[in-house]
Amino acid sequence: GPKVLQIPSHQIIDMGQMVTLNCDPVSNHLYFYWYKQILGQQMEFLVNFYNGKVMEKSKLFKDQFSVERPDGSYFTLKIQPTALEDSAVYFCASSLGQGNTEVFFGKGTRLTVV
């Protein structure tokens, strides 16, 4: 079936440094999402992106976070600067449409900020 690929699967970064998480969404999908999951806890919505713009973001999407998808390439989540509390698994997702269309999730990138 359709797959969302996330690269890398695990990243370790020093606090204060910048990190970019990459996501290769399903090829014909138009809506893109990032979710954050702290170990053993709930999946929390971060942001939704469509047509080059952020459509909706949560309170977890801090000013240090940004997303983009330049020229249909990877959909990226950038954190600059990183903080210890940013350590979590970040899941990328994509969907063809809104409402009743299925959302496909990647396997996640485990970010460890030290």
Binding site: Y33, E44, E102, V103, F105, G106, G108
Partner: protein, 112 residues
């Protein structure tokens, strides 16, 4: 605003038992419901979904779920669990908007 409630944080059963994982939602309009499974340290795997039609939906690996508008529920069931079903199960809701809202998850432990 839509919300999803999974009342049981942990469920423990024996292999071969039946299981029901509970999910209740709050939203008045058209709703898209789904269940995902997450094995330890892994990503999300889609199990099944409901949007309209037959309120009982069949998913992978013998799972099924039943939508009830009167109860605002979408409980997940399996008739006979296997040890490999041990995982965290997330109920999720999507309305006419963009995002998927997840419940807090139910950790299922199947003892041999």
């Amino acid at each position: 605003t839509q919300t999803v409630s999974q009342s049981d944080a942990h469920v423990t059963v024996f292999e071969g038992d039946s299981v029901e994982l509970r999910c209740n939602y709050s939203y008045g309009g058209s709703i898209y419901l789904s269940w995902y499974i997450q094995h330890h340290g892994r990503g999300l795997q889609f199990l099944l979904k409901y949007y309209s039609g037959n309120p009982v939906v069949q998913g992978v690996n013998g799972f099924k779920a039943e939508f009830s508008k009167s109860d605002s529920s979408f409980h997940l069931r399996k008739a006979s669990v296997h040890w490999s079903d041990s995982a965290v199960y997330f109920c999720a809701v999507r309305t006419g908007g963009y995002k998927v809202v997840f419940g807090s998850g139910t950790r299922l432990l199947v003892s041999p």
